[in-house]
């Protein structure tokens, strides 16, 4: 009997402890759920109101309509802005890869004086507010007498986004075993063959991932675009200028389309990047 009580006593204590743990876990779960809700409620609002048959964005909901989407597709300015954004984002992404890939290789493979400084400068736009990149390049273009246009925006975006490509590709190169490249050279492959047949396929996920991210960020960019664009508007600039005038349901419709498009991009990237394990 004495033994059982000796055993039973701590079990009551541990029960209480486990209860406390359960409670803490429950609270933590609730907090996590709230944060996730916090992240998604605004996006949900955007989507829901894009179908709400009411020009002002107030509750209660008034019923389903496609009207805002119809208005959207009848808006030439908006369509032009979408087209401009696609042009800018595609060109900027291509340019970013063209510069970012060699930059990642230089940082990973080549030793040269001033390398640490080069690394710092090229990665700076990652943490540096876009406005500084925008303003400093605006100054450069003014000094050179270059007219502002979508092309100057492309250069600005590419410069700001190189850091994205460099960090992702560099991290992949770090994990890439150097000896498969040596094995390739050993087996008679020229450096360009090694690059195309061995290196590139193995850093593919980082290249695709950073390209998709660059595209999205460029498509959505405001601060650099604000300073570097001429008369042409990109989509976010157009949305922004209408938005400052007031809230309209068309913006919700565009927003919903963008959410849809972003989701498609994410799904695409997940499919493309699924690692063959």
């Amino acid at each position: 009997m004495a033994e059982t009580t000796a055993l039973a006593e701590p079990s009551v204590r541990s029960l209480r402890l486990r209860l406390g743990e359960r409670l803490a876990e429950g609270t933590l779960g609730a907090v996590a759920a709230c944060v996730l809700a916090f992240l998604y409620l605004p996006i949900a609002t955007l989507v829901i109101f894009s179908f709400n048959d009411n020009r002002s964005l107030t509750l209660p909901l008034r019923g389903f309509t496609w009207r805002w989407y119809e208005e959207l597709f009848a808006n030439d300015q908006l369509l032009q802005a979408i087209w401009n954004s696609c042009y800018v984002a595609l060109s900027a992404t291509a340019l970013t890869l063209l510069i970012g890939l060699p930059a990642a290789f230089v940082l990973h493979r080549v030793r040269f004086p001033g390398k640490a400084a080069f690394r710092r400068v090229i990665l700076l736009p990652l943490a540096l507010p876009g406005i500084i990149t925008g303003i400093s390049m605006l100054n450069l273009f003014k000094l050179l007498g270059v007219n502002l246009s979508l092309e100057t925006v492309i250069i600005g975006h590419a410069t700001a986004l190189i850091a994205v490509v460099v960090t992702q590709v560099y991290a992949r190169l770090e994990r890439l075993s150097r000896n498969i490249e040596e094995a390739s050279a050993d087996l008679g492959a020229r450096p360009w063959q090694t690059f195309l047949l061995v290196t590139l396929p193995n850093i593919r996920s980082a290249v695709i991932g950073s390209a998709l991210l660059s595209f999205t960020l460029s498509f959505d960019e405001i601060p650099v675009t604000f300073f570097l664009t001429g008369r042409d508007n990109t989509l976010p600039m157009y949305i922004w200028s209408t938005m400052r005038r007031g809230i309209t349901p068309e913006i919700n419709a565009v927003g919903t389309l963008i959410v849809l498009f972003s989701t498609a991009l994410i799904v695409l990237s997940v499919l493309l990047l699924r690692e063959r394990r």
Partner: protein, 289 residues
């Protein structure tokens, strides 16, 4: 070890492209604004000069130093709030979600908003907090408010909410990564030694996840510090931030030298925060080693 490879012209050209680009579009432009920041304004342009008047103005004219201070305050509050919101979520995902697939899916769910337009995410708060907005109409239906309240939008509160919302995914990412790196057996060892879960957390988990927290705070602070979209969308008259002041110097006010000086100050603040964070991070790592 890198073998000394013979330098071929094509290879050299490809590899020097990023160096030249960085020089032309990052270093030179920074040097230009640095130079202009010492120029004198002569409406509507400016004259080459070397004087510290622009910098003096920033630190003497309350109009500028108050905005700077306010911007810093907002950035700090946003960084702290985002940490408070993100840490429990990251912790929950790493330690409490046992299924690997579910964890990956939930993590993905946190990251997805990053891919959705920044502008739209800021804009939704305008629709939520506005006097004709969802929050107001919701509170009115509940009977908590008699009429629409203008208190939610166009002030610092609205900005803090909006910016925190935007940077939460940014914050979750590094904290999640840091927590994931903590070896489980370390926590088991701590539990095995009779240390309670709460003390284990403060003695083991929290210190080991600090690099992630530092990275998140650094990014959030720097990006908030230079934000100029949220203030214009949801900030009111007292919600102007330094980036808006800079933008107006290059826009309506046409005072490029002052705008440049302000940009340089912003650049220096960001650089200071970055180097402070990398120093903290390094000293933290040494302690852990």
């Amino acid at each position: 070890m890198t073998a000394r490879a013979p330098i071929r012209p094509l290879r050299a050209a490809i590899l020097s492209l990023p160096l030249l680009w960085t020089l032309a579009f990052l270093i030179v432009p920074y040097l230009i604004i640095f130079t202009i920041s010492f120029y004198t304004r002569k409406y509507p342009t400016h004259l080459p000069d070397f004087q510290f008047g622009n910098y003096l103005a920033i630190f003497q004219d309350p109009q500028y130093y108050q905005v700077l201070w306010r911007t810093a305050k907002i950035a700090i509050v946003v960084a702290l709030l985002a940490t408070l919101v993100s840490y429990p979520l990251a912790y929950f995902l790493v330690f409490k979600v046992r299924s690997v697939r579910l964890r990956a899916a939930l993590y993905m769910l946190v990251i997805v908003p990053l891919w959705v337009s920044y502008l739209l995410r800021a804009y939704t708060w305008k629709t939520i907090l506005g006097s004709e907005g969802i929050l107001n109409s919701f509170l009115m239906t509940l009977g908590l408010l008699d009429g629409p309240s203008p208190l939610f939008l166009y002030n610092q509160f609205a900005m803090v909410v909006t910016l925190t919302y935007i940077f939460v995914p940014f914050m979750v990412m590094p904290i999640y990564t840091a927590l994931e790196k903590i070896p489980r057996n370390l926590l088991e060892a701590s539990g095995d030694l009779g240390v309670g879960p709460l003390r284990s957390f403060f003695a083991v988990t929290l210190p080991l996840s600090m690099p992630g927290v530092i990275a998140g705070v650094t990014f959030t602070f720097c990006l908030t510090f230079g934000d100029f979209v949220a203030p214009l969308l949801v900030g009111g008259p007292d919600g102007q931030m330094i980036a808006n002041v800079i933008a107006s110097q290059f826009g309506a006010t046409l005072n490029w030298p002052l705008g440049s000086a302000l940009s340089i100050v912003m650049l220096l603040v960001v650089l200071a925060v970055l180097s402070l964070s990398s120093r903290l991070d390094r000293s933290g790592r040494v302690e852990l080693a």
